[in-house]
Structure formats: C-alpha cells, structure tokens
Amino acid sequence: MQMTYAEAIRDGLRVELKRDPKVYMAGEDIGPFGGCFGVTAGLYNEFGPKRIVDTPISENFILGHAVGAAGCGLRPVVEIMFDDFMTVCFDEMANQAAKIRYMFGGKAKVPMVCVTINGAGVGAAAQHSQSLEALLTHIPGIITVIPSNPYDAKGLLISAIRDDNPVMYYEHKQLLGVAGEVPEGEYAIPLGKADIKRGGSDVTIVAWSWMVQKSLEAAEQLAKAGINAEVLDPRTLVPLDKEAILSSVAKTGRLVIVQEACKTMGFASEIAAIIAEEGLDLLNAPILRVAAPNTPIPFSPVLEQAYIPSVEGIVAAVKSLF
C-alpha cells in the first residue's frame, strides 16, 4: 500500500511493538504529542504509557537509560529529537553502547535503536539541520542505518530493532512526506545490503538518505545528455556493502559520491578511500565527492540553498568525468 516515509517508520514501530513485549520507545514528546515531526503519532493511544514513554529534556538520560535497560533484557527504541543533539549524549553512544559488549568480553549485549533525524532545507539553521551520521561510523560497535525511501525505512527499522547491537537510525526531514509502496505487516531488509535505485552503465553515483532523491533526479538529466548513471544506495553505512560498490564501479569505471554533510571527513571520504585501495584499477576517472561546503548551515533560505548539494552540482560533477 502507499505510505509516506513517516507512516512507514510508524508502521515498522507498530509491527515490532506488537510482536515483542520487550520493545518500548522513549524520548521527548513522542507520547500524546506524537513526536516533533509526527512520526510516533497515535502510538501512545495504541500502546499506552508503559511502551511509549515521554521523557524530560534529558538526552544523557534517554540514551544512557536505554543502555542499561538493553543490558537488562529490554529492546529500547529511543528518539533523540535532532541529530545535532546527539553531540550532547555522544558519550552514551560512543563510550557506552558501542563498547559494552567488547569491554565485557562478549558477556553483555546492548540491543537498542537510537532514532534521530537529519537534514537541512527547512530553515532550521546551524543547530537543527546537520547530517552527522559520519561521526558515529568512526566508533566500532555501532550499526548505522540511513534509509532513503518508505520501503527501506520500514524494512530496515524492523531489522534494526531485531538486531542485537546498538543501532543508529537516521531519518531525514525532507523525506518524511515522500510516499511509496510499502508492504503491510512484517518484512525485514538485511543490514549491510546496498540497493541499486537506478541501473546504469556509465557512472556509479553512491548516495544515501535525501541525496538518493537528488541523485535520481540528476540521473534523469544525465540520461538526456547521453550519460547512463547507476544510483547505488548503501542503505546502511556500517556495515557497508562495499562489494556492491566495487561491482558497480567495475561495470561503470566512474564513481561520484554524494553526501549532504560538509565535505571534510564525511562518509563519502571513507567510500572514496575504500575504492581507491581496493578498486583503483577499475576506475577510468578520478573519484569525485559532491558535498556541502565546510561551513555551518546558514539560516537565510538563499544561503541554505547554496549550502545543500544540488541536482545541478551532481550533474556537473558527473559530466566533468567524461
């Protein structure tokens, strides 16, 4: 059936809340209010205050309590309202959730999901717009899920909740209202499997989250110019389906990586490094990264639009390789 990305996430939550009584949600304003972006609307009425837990504005507590609860057998899904706020509870993910299994010699596990939301383009300025997914990919022990459409959003969320590792799950503000075909009921998309969103033979464009939509638009424009672009969505950054990227590049010989975040030390750099190490002989042209400039995200719509990687920018980058 047709669902928006937000509805698909809500449906995935509902499926798991119904299936497993150990699953519960906690976060700021996720209860009767329905979440800052409406993603959890109605779940409080359906599942009640035990399963849908409103918390004070206390990010250290939200994530930290999830670590303790997960360690004691529950499967918390917690929400941090904006990705930008992850920086105030970085310790709870980076030093606690990520490390407990390892430093306790595999005798403890932390099956929790932290849901947060990325993205510029809504005039939210420098502290409510970032896409900081790369930060936690640097910390071993965490899985990173970052869906680009409603089908993936639901199927990946179900897998994330069933996974026995801590998972970061990144929604995107610009995708919440995007509709698509989503199966009813349960289905799980394996973590670590990329998806080819558009087949092509001349260039591989790797993109995730909102940038998949922009890359698909760019691919349509490129097709008119006689360039047949393949758009590959890794869907999860950790684990990364590098075999899928390598095999696509083996076919196309060209690689452009598109990320919404600023350029320096973004995940595009990691993908570029992997392909440079393991697939340099597959390339007929340099690897290019399309990314935001290394600035904070500005408020003024004119400045913000200049900040966000554009369809035109992707088209120009691809054309420069030919």
């Binding site: 250290n60 670590v67 390892y102 595999g106």
Partner: protein, 322 residues
C-alpha cells in the same frame, strides 16, 4: 537493631577479602605484573561490604572505576577478577576490560564504568527494566564525590524521582576527586544536601562504620523495593592510597591521613567483635588468613592463565563479524 553475630562475622570476612585483594593488587602493580590504571579502595571496605549485604543476586549494581571491593562484596569471582586485572584470557571480561570495566551480568554487576557520570543513567535504565519486567529487584548506583559533579547526575536524579524508579544512589565520599579535596569541588557541605532538590531523602553517614552503612542502605533498599522511589545516601570515608596506584597523594594533609588511618574500618569491626565476645583475636587472624589464601589462589590462577589469543582482538565488537 543489634546485628547477629553471624552477620558481623560475615562482614569481617568480606572486608578482610577486599583488603587482601586490594593490598595484593597494589604490590602486583608496583612489581609491574598488572598493566594499565588501577584505582584501589583501601580504607573504603566498609561501604562495599555494608551496601552489598543489602541486596540479592538478581538486584543490579552499577559501579565506578574504583570498584574491586564492591564487586567482591556482590559475590564476584576473585580468580576471574584477578585474571582480568592481569589481562588474561580467563578474566571475567576475557582480558578485554581490565580494572576499570569489571562486570558480571549474571551476578547483577552492570559493570564498572571508566567514564565518570555515565553510570547514573545506565543504572536508572536497569532499574527501569526491573520495573518494566515486573520484578521486585532494585538497583544500586555507586559513585564518588568527584563524580557527583558531572552533569548527567542531574538528569538521572530528576527522572528517577519523577518515575519513582527502584534505585538507591550511593555516594562514596572518599575526600577527593583525584587531587581535588571535597572543599575544593563541592558547593555544599555534603553531596546528600542535593537530595531535597529531587524530592528524595538524603542522608550522610560514617562510611567506615559497616553497621551504619548496612542499616542505612537496608532502609533505602526497602523503600525502593516498596515502590516509594530513590534515596541518596552518602558515606564519608577516606581513600588511603592515591587516586591511582603510582599517585603518592602528596596533596593530602599528613595529619588528616594519619587520623583517618586510625579509623581503619576493618580494625574497628574487629575490635567490636572482640568487645562483644563474638570473636577472639585468633578467630580474626584465622579469617584474615582465609581471605589471604583466597587471594593467593586468585593470583596463582591469574599467573598460570594463558594470554588471550590475538584473534580475540576482533571478536565481541558486534554479535557477528560484519
């Protein structure tokens, strides 16, 4: 209420084992047999002993970086603990955690935490899980006076009281946050003065009096088990050694150090046992010898245990190889 002879003798045995363990670790560290950082709780044994005597195996305890004695008193396996300090494969965390990350989930020991302040929310999460699962278990969260100044304490104190979580906050005030004396880091006379801000009872008690520690904790544990919410207990004591082994503690006033050494909690309890005719000096000596023998065995076990296979570096990061 006067405690039974058996209970007091149990306390003495536990305190003697803690003393023997820590004294031996100090020697082994000086001899270069234990790598890394070790933080000893010599002089603080009455707190670990009195507190842990109030909880059962399924109750949870969250610990800090100076928690060998607490783990022993909760029923930790001294062979596996010592092997962990050596970094051996037979360690309680397979040699991956070391002194600062001792944990034993089966014993309800949620783990020592090297990040001061991170343990509050994790312990609160464990208490949340105990209630979610409709058990009658309580959680104890132990921390030091220095740690009491970390920001996350506020979030966890507030939420735990708001939700009446079955938790007891226990401050081991040993006089110093590393080199900084309490008067240099605490705005109030007592850590427990903060309790009223969170609507919970707060009390400060002599931490070198194991009976006082036990009775105070028991009341708070009963309160938590009844569903009446958290309490904040502060036990004042003195850290005999430096912050870590190798720190000579030159910042301590020698007069204070001498005064506190006279208040040796093990000696005090021994005198009490003799005075009450519950034990003779020979009985006490025999109990000390029993503790020493237990630690002899732990050291032998650790020394004879194999190092971890280097392949262990790569395991336990996730539940599977990604």
């Amino acid at each position: 209420m006067e405690l039974s002879k058996e209970k007091l003798l149990d306390f003495y045995q536990t305190m003697a084992t803690c003393r023997a363990f820590e004294s031996r670790v100090s020697e082994l560290f000086a001899a270069g047999k234990i790598p890394g950082f070790v933080h000893l709780s010599l002089g603080q044994e009455a707190i670990a002993t009195g507190v842990m005597a109030c909880v059962e195996k399924d109750d949870k305890v969250g610990l800090h970086h100076r928690s060998h004695s607490e783990m022993i008193a909760k029923g930790g396996n001294t062979n596996q603990m010592m092997a962990e300090l050596f970094g051996k494969a037979t360690g309680i965390c397979k040699g991956k955690g070391g002194s600062m990350h001792l944990a034993d989930m089966e014993m309800g020991i949620l783990g020592a935490n090297g990040i001061l302040g991170a343990g509050f929310a994790i312990a609160a999460g464990a208490a949340f899980a105990c209630r979610y699962n409709e058990t009658n278990d309580v959680t104890l969260c132990l921390f030091g006076d220095g740690q009491s100044n970390r920001g996350p304490i506020h979030e966890s104190f507030n939420v735990a009281s708001l939700w009446k979580l079955p938790i007891v906050w226990i401050c081991e005030n040993n006089g110093f946050g590393l080199s900084n004396p309490v008067k240099g880091h605490l705005a109030t006379d007592n850590v427990s003065d903060r309790a009223s801000a969170y609507g919970m009872p707060g009390v400060t008690v002599d931490g070198n009096d194991v009976v006082a520690v036990y009775e105070t904790t028991r009341e708070a544990v009963n309160r938590a088990r009844r569903g009446d919410g958290p309490s904040l207990l502060e036990f004042k004591t003195w850290r005999w050694h430096g912050h870590f082994e190798g720190d000579p503690g030159n910042y301590k006033d020698p007069k204070d150090q001498a005064e506190w050494l006279k208040k040796d909690p093990l000696l005090s309890l021994g005198n009490k046992l003799i005075h009450q005719k519950y034990a003779t000096q020979a009985d006490l000596d025999a109990m000390q010898a029993k503790s020493e023998a237990r630690i002899d065995e732990a050291v032998k076990f650790a020394e004879e245990s194999p190092w971890p296979d280097v392949s262990e570096l790569y395991t336990d990061v996730y539940d599977r190889q990604l």
